[in-house]
């Protein structure tokens, strides 16, 4: 954040990072010399064949995992252990089944020791924003998959993190719910200005939501290409889908992924 340099600090800066997993007999290289810069407020999608190291990449950014070599910085500060200034959403909602939707969201506040009145107000705002109104006191098993994932999203946003990490958050949802969630996530992103790193298997999702799409190769993951999505900021779902920029970006990504998996 140095003033003299004249450039703004990246929200996320991954430089030359490799990750090797040591197991009893073998050593697996999950990620090989990956570099990526994400600007503040940017939305970046990450796609790649399954098992290539996408989840590993997000864990590196959150500090849940340390790289074997290279370095990761978050908001201008090197990542050395679990970071608290991020929000994380997994494929499974990972809700506490004994807590209501609202109290699951407030877990974030309790763990952080946030002011409870302030957190309550913020939770209500998010509940309103994500269409959870009326379900505040429902237990997780009484909620649909989409609703559960909304709760997980609210929990991840409660403390107003500047970086939101999402690991296939809508992977378990049906196609229609997924589209709705995409539209909502897009709106939430525009309203909050949070930097988002989204891992997804859906090419449409990756293009519709992102400023840039990072395509990874098979394991060990290397950045194959970064695609700039030339879509306007205001994205209505159906008109966006019909735009030529959307079609060409999606086709290009499909080609890249096909080329990667084609070796099997």
């Amino acid at each position: 954040m140095s003033v003299t340099s004249g450039t703004t600090t990246s929200a996320v800066e991954i430089s030359d990072v490799s990750v090797r997993f040591q197991s009893k007999r073998t050593e697996v290289t999950a990620i090989q010399q990956v570099s990526l810069d994400v600007a503040p407020g940017e939305f970046v999608s990450i796609v790649g064949p399954s098992g290539c190291g996408k989840s590993t990449l997000l864990k590196l950014v959150s500090g849940l995992l340390t790289p074997s070599s290279g370095s990761v910085s978050l908001l201008g500060e090197q990542v050395r252990g679990p970071r608290h200034d991020i929000g994380f959403v997994f494929q499974r909602a990972a809700l506490l089944e004994w807590r209501s939707a609202r109290r699951n969201i407030l877990l974030q506040a309790e763990m952080r020791g946030m002011d409870s009145a302030e957190a309550g107000r913020r939770a209500d705002e998010l509940i309103e924003m994500t269409g959870l109104s009326g379900f505040e006191s429902a237990l997780p098993h009484e909620l649909s998959g989409g609703m559960q994932q909304r709760v997980a999203l609210c929990r991840a946003l409660l403390h107003q993190p500047r970086v939101l990490l999402m690991d296939e958050p809508f992977g378990a949802l049906d196609a229609l719910t997924r589209e709705q969630m995409n539209v909502e996530l897009h709106r939430v992103w525009r309203e909050t200005g949070t930097t988002v790193l989204l891992v997804t298997h859906s090419i449409a999702e990756s293009v519709y939501l992102a400023n840039r799409v990072v395509v990874l190769t098979r394991r060990p993951a290397v950045v194959q290409e970064v695609i700039e999505v030339g879509l306007p900021a205001e994205r209505d779902y159906s008109t966006t889908m019909a735009r030529p920029e959307f079609a060409s970006a999606a086709a290009h990504i499909r080609d890249l992924l096909g080329a990667v998996t084609g070796h099997d």
Binding site: S62, H84, G87, F88, L96, W98, E110, M111, L139
Partner: protein, 273 residues
């Protein structure tokens, strides 16, 4: 409101009639076997005689029942607290887990009836050796169930907790321990029934009070009605304590109770293994 109450009663009746019918059938067979003289009365007393004696000698039996209940509950509570503490230590420390496991297993497989006399030698005829045997019986299922429960938490949930920065204490209090409670309760229910057995075994070995003493005395006097009465009361103590825990579970874990079937299934699943 009235229909809700009526529905609840119908539910109770629906659940209770099968076990009640089975119990009635058992009593009927017992009755028939004795009145027809199929089995000699001095071997198996009739139900009427047994329950008559139970009522007549209630003041005598109730004192002994109280003693056994006291030993059982004390042993159960000690086993519960110790079991949870040991389980927590084992889950949080690999070293403690690998050190404690063999000892735990050894303490579990050693026949309690065989070491009970030793406690009597050491501690005399008071309630202490009975409580210790009860603790030994009840301890293991509590440890195993709590360890299982504490380990049942999603890794994703724990990773999330790490990004929330609450530290290990808050993570334990708000996430791990509540998540372990259903397992813990299953273990406690098994433990309480074993604690009854432990107390009675302790009384068998050396005692001048308690239901174990009553049963042993009745046995020595060939007083089968009293022996049967003692057995019935001991079983009722176990059932009652079990039901109390079941109720506690429903109160503490309403979210869990709403998601599963009858309480007895967990007992059978745990006890049978």
């Amino acid at each position: 409101m009235d229909t809700v109450r009526a529905d609840r009663w119908r539910g109770v009746v629906e659940r209770a009639w099968r076990p009640a019918a089975l119990l009635a059938a058992c009593l009927a067979i017992w009755h028939l076997v004795t009145v027809t003289g199929l089995v000699e009365a001095y071997l198996v007393p009739s139900p009427a005689k047994t329950f008559g004696l139970l009522a007549d000698k209630w003041s005598y039996l109730s004192g002994h029942t109280w003693v056994t209940t006291y030993e059982t509950v004390l042993g159960f509570v000690i086993a519960g607290v110790l079991g949870v503490l040991v389980a927590v230590a084992m889950v949080y420390s690999r070293t403690i887990e690998s050190t404690a496991y063999p000892i735990l297993l050894f303490a579990q497989v050693i026949p309690k009836i065989a070491i009970a006399p030793l406690f009597v030698v050491w501690l005399g005829f008071g309630f202490e050796p009975k409580v210790i045997v009860a603790v030994l019986m009840a301890f293991f299922p509590v440890v195993i169930s709590t360890v299982t429960g504490l380990k049942s938490v999603d890794t994703e949930m724990l990773e999330l907790a790490a990004t929330m920065g609450g530290g290990p204490v808050k993570t334990f209090v708000k996430i791990r321990f509540p998540a372990a409670l259903p397992h813990l309760f299953a273990g406690l229910k098994v433990a309480v029934t074993l604690a009854v057995t432990g107390a009675v075994v302790g009384e068998f070995v050396g005692s001048n009070e308690g239901l174990g003493y009553v049963i042993l005395q009745a046995n020595g006097n060939m007083d089968t009605p009293m022996l049967f009465a003692g057995l019935i009361v001991v079983s009722l103590v176990g059932v009652l304590l079990f039901l109390l825990l079941d109720l506690a579970e429903k109160l503490v874990l309403p979210w869990h109770a709403s998601r599963r079937g009858a309480a007895v299934t967990t007992l059978l699943a745990k006890g049978g293994s």
